[in-house]
Every structure is written in structure tokens, then in C-alpha cells.
Symmetry: C2
């Protein structure tokens, strides 16, 4: 049972370090130091670093999508809900330790060498796109729009990471999204 808390501590440290400095530049020993979980315990929880990486991405995935969904659920109007996604992205981009999308970064780092990581990244992105599809169909908008909304969100994430421009890419993406929604015949409350 105590190993559950060790697991969470290990994942906390892994998330902080992997996300902040990249995966390859963080050693298992750094994670031990930051988490207080001994190397032996680390390796019985996660038999290889790759599994720790995947577990970190998985846990972050459910939390990330949950935070997004909670924000969106604060809005009633289906058209407004779509735009709320970009508001939330803007909030995220302004967090002081924001360093881009963990999955896009991980894919750039390990997508070519680790199939498990690549699969986790695809799974996260598909879930996000699926979520947008749901919002679009709730608003009576065509399915193709969701793909475009997705591209805007992805573009905003990379741009916010590379330039460290805070919420601005999210604002631009939100403006574009609003125009696309209107163009497809959706109503957007103010």
C-alpha cells in the first residue's frame, strides 16, 4: 500500500523534471533525488525508464483532459463551449512553468526511438481531437470542423512554446475558431 504513495511521488518528480527539462536530460538518479524514492523502489515500480515515461504521460493525459473538461463545463452554450477551449489554452500558456505540450515535446524527443511513447502521444492527441469532435457535434456543426479546430489548438501549443508569448497564440486561435464556427453556420454567443 505504501508503494502507492511512492509511485505517486515518483510520478510527481518525473512530471516536474521531464516536463521542465526534457526526458533525455533527466536521469533516474535525478528522479530519485527529487522524489525521495530509492532507486531500488523506482525500478520495482517501473522496470525501465521508458515505462516511467509512459506512466508520466498517461497520468498527465487524464489530468490535462480533465482540467480542460472542467473549464469547458462552466459554459452552457455549445458554441461558447468551443471557444472556451481556447480560453483555457490561454490560461495554460500563462502558467509560469509552461513549456509547451508535453506530448509534442516527447514525440520530438523519443517518437523516432520509442514506439511506446509514440503510441501514448497518438492516443492523447486522438482523445483531444475526439473531445473537440464532441463539442462540435453538440453545437450542430459538421465533423470536419473539429479537425480544423484541432489544428488551431495544436498550432497554438507549439507556437506558445517556441515563442514564449504567453496567451497570445491562444487568442489568435480563438479568433480563427470563432470565424470558422460562424462560417459553418454556428451561433456564437458573446
Amino acid at each position: 500500500m505504501d508503494s502507492m504513495v511512492a509511485r505517486e511521488q515518483a510520478l510527481d518528480a518525473a512530471e516536474r523534471l521531464f516536463y521542465g527539462r526534457g526526458i533525455q536530460s533527466v536521469g533516474m538518479d535525478d528522479i530519485r533525488g527529487a522524489s525521495g524514492v530509492s532507486l531500488k523502489r523506482l525500478y520495482q515500480l517501473f522496470p525501465a525508464k521508458e515505462q516511467l515515461v509512459v506512466a508520466y504521460l498517461e497520468r498527465r493525459d487524464v489530468r490535462w483532459r480533465q482540467r480542460l473538461a472542467e473549464h469547458v463545463e462552466g459554459h452552457e452554450d455549445p458554441g461558447r463551449r468551443i471557444l472556451a477551449v481556447y480560453d483555457w489554452l490561454g490560461q495554460w500558456f500563462r502558467e509560469p512553468d509552461f513549456r509547451g505540450c508535453a506530448w509534442i515535446n516527447s514525440y520530438g524527443e523519443l517518437g523516432a526511438t520509442s514506439e511506446r511513447v509514440a503510441a501514448q502521444v497518438r492516443s492523447h492527441k486522438r482523445a483531444f481531437k475526439g473531445y473537440l469532435s464532441g463539442l462540435a457535434s453538440d453545437a450542430g456543426l459538421p465533423a470536419g470542423l473539429a479537425d480544423q479546430l484541432f489544428l488551431l489548438a495544436e498550432g497554438a501549443m507549439v507556437t506558445a512554446a517556441i515563442e514564449q508569448s504567453g496567451a497570445e497564440p491562444a487568442v489568435q486561435a480563438g479568433l480563427a475558431a470563432r470565424m470558422l464556427v460562424k462560417g459553418y453556420g454556428g451561433a456564437v454567443g458573446h
Copy 2:
């Protein structure tokens, strides 16, 4: 003088390997093997791996933007030129060795640890965005549109990389771009 050809060979090998397998997973020795340029020569051309990486990104940057510009220049109508960007992206995505945007990937891998790489990535993205701004203003469209066109292109690049879906993200981005251009009052010939 002969060192110029060694430099090109080194950069050819660096580009092939760094782009295909990621930067950190390619050793200097791999580059020597693939280029035929001796380690000693490599290190007198590029005193550290980081400089080889930056040189690779720089050379690829000018070639990439030139290829794009050549494609776009095949079109006359200013509105059509904007959409030609997405056509070209689609062609690029279908190349058999396509593995995403070299700069986004490099940023995910080294953005947190190498300021020189991060600066090169920013420089490339700013140049690309600047190019789109030029296309937008040639078409008499507002400057803000260029930011949105940029986000669509970036989103298409990451998505095409993660899913290996060929040209489809470029098609979606092109449709969105077309709608945005029309929404801002631009004329788009078919």
C-alpha cells in the same frame, strides 16, 4: 577549399540522421560513418556537436523556405498563393522520409537545454510567419490573418508527424485557411 565539400558532406549526413532519428540518438561517430568525413575534420569544421546541429538547422531553413517560395511563385493570384502554401505542405507530408517539422522536433529535444538551438528554431518560425504575413498583405488581407494561417500550418505539421496520415492535415488546414480568407473578405479563385 576541399573542406567546403567535406562540410557539405557532413551536413548531408547530419541532416539525414538528425532528421530521421532525432539528434540525441545520433552520435558524432554515426555522422563520421555516414559522411566519410573523419572525426578530426568534423571537429575542425564544427568544434562541438551543438554547432553542427545549428548549422544543419540553418542550412535546412534556407532550403525549406526556398522550396516553399518556389512552389508558391507558381501561382499568380494572391489569394491562391496563400492556399498554395497548404498544397505544398501536403506534398511535403507525403514524402516517404517525412518525420515532422525539424525545428519543432529539435525544440522538443533540445529547446530546454540549448539556447542556440532554441534561438535557431525561433528564427525559422519567425521567418515562416513573416513569409505568410507578406502573402496576406499582398492579398490585401489584414495582418492578424497571417497569425491564424501560421497556427494552421504549425498544427498541420505536428499532426502530420504524430499521426502518419500523409497530406490530410494539410488539406484540412487548407480548407480552414480558405474559409478564413473568405471571411476576411479576400477573393479566392478556385
